[in-house]
C-alpha cells in the first residue's frame, strides 16, 4: 500500500464526537423527558412550562434556591451551560456519526465536501446556542 498521509483533522472531530457522545448519553434523555414530555404526561404543572416558567427555568431559579447563599451565583449559569452542552455536544456528536451513515450509503468519496458542511453546521449551531442561551438574564 502506498504511504497515505496522516489524518490530522479527523482525530479532533473524533474527540468532539466522543465528548459529545458522553454528554448526549448522560444528559439528553432526562432533558427530552422534562422539556418535551413531562407536561403532556401530567408530571409537571403548566406554571413550569409556560412563558414565565420557562424564563424562570433559564434564569436558574430552582438551582439558585437549592444552592443557597454560597453557591447561588452558579444557579444562573447552570441552565445555560446545560443547554450549550446539549446542543453543541449533540451537534458535534450527531453530525460526525451522520457523516459515516452517509459514507455507508455510498458517499465515502465525498469526505472533502462533507467535512466542511457537517462540521460547519455543528460549529454554527453551537455558536447560536451560546449566543441565544446567554442572551437571557
Amino acid at each position: 500500500m502506498a504511504a497515505a498521509e496522516v489524518d490530522r483533522v479527523t482525530p479532533m472531530f473524533w474527540g468532539l464526537f466522543s465528548a459529545g457522545g458522553f454528554v448526549v448519553a448522560f444528559l439528553l434523555p432526562v432533558f427530552i423527558f422534562m422539556n418535551s414530555l413531562a407536561y403532556g404526561l401530567h408530571v409537571v404543572p403548566w406554571e413550569k412550562v409556560e412563558y414565565g416558567g420557562a424564563l424562570r427555568w433559564i434564569r436558574g431559579d430552582p438551582a439558585t434556591a437549592l444552592l443557597g447563599n454560597t453557591l447561588g451565583w452558579l444557579g444562573g449559569w447552570l441552565p445555560k451551560l446545560f443547554l450549550v452542552l446539549i446542543i453543541g455536544g449533540g451537534l458535534f456528536h450527531g453530525l460526525h456519526r451522520f457523516k459515516y451513515v452517509l459514507y455507508d450509503v455510498g458517499l465515502h468519496r465525498a469526505k472533502k465536501v462533507l467535512d466542511p458542511i457537517l462540521y460547519g453546521i455543528a460549529a454554527a449551531g453551537t455558536v447560536a446556542a451560546v449566543v441565544l442561551a446567554f442572551s437571557f438574564p
Binding site: A25, L28, N35, V44, A54
Partner: protein
C-alpha cells in the same frame, strides 16, 4: 507483477440490504440512526430558545405546536433513540479501557454498570437541581 496470470477474480456486489441479514447489524444501523434524532433535537431546542426570545405570544404559539399530538409522538421517538444511544454508548465505552486495575482493563460489566448508575444519578440530580423536582 511480471508473472502472467490466468486468474479472473470475481468481485461480488454488496446488496443495499446487507444489514438486514444479521440482528447485530440491524442494531448497529439503528444506533447510527440515533445521530439524526440527536441532531434534530438540538435544532428543535434552538428553535425553542428563539421562540422564547420572541416574547410571551411567540412562545405560547411554540408551546401549542410543542404539545400537539404529532409533536409529542415525534419527541417520544426522539427519546427512544436517545435512550438507545445511551445504552449502546455505555456498552461501547467498555471496550476502550481508560484505566487498568492491577494491569488489566476493568471488566466490561463493571464499566457498563458504573455508567448506568452514573446515568440514573445524574438524571435525578438534573431533575432536582435544574427543575426543582417534579
Amino acid at each position: 507483477m511480471a508473472v502472467e496470470t490466468v486468474r479472473k477474480p470475481y468481485v461480488r456486489q454488496r446488496s443495499a440490504w446487507w444489514w438486514t441479514k444479521n440482528p447485530r447489524y440491524v442494531l448497529f444501523q439503528f444506533r447510527e440512526l440515533s445521530s439524526v434524532f440527536v441532531v434534530l433535537y438540538a435544532f428543535l431546542v434552538l428553535w425553542q430558545l428563539w421562540a422564547l426570545r420572541g416574547g410571551s405570544d411567540a412562545y405560547y404559539a411554540f408551546l401549542v405546536m410543542w404539545y400537539s399530538r404529532p409533536m409529542m409522538a415525534l419527541n417520544a421517538v426522539i427519546l427512544a433513540f436517545a435512550i438507545l444511544h445511551s445504552v449502546t454508548w455505555f456498552a461501547l465505552t467498555a471496550k476502550v479501557p481508560l484505566f487498568r486495575i492491577k494491569g488489566r482493563p476493568p471488566p466490561a460489566a463493571l464499566v457498563i454498570g458504573a455508567n448506568l448508575a452514573i446515568w440514573v444519578a445524574l438524571s435525578l440530580l438534573i431533575v432536582k437541581l435544574l427543575y426543582g423536582g417534579f
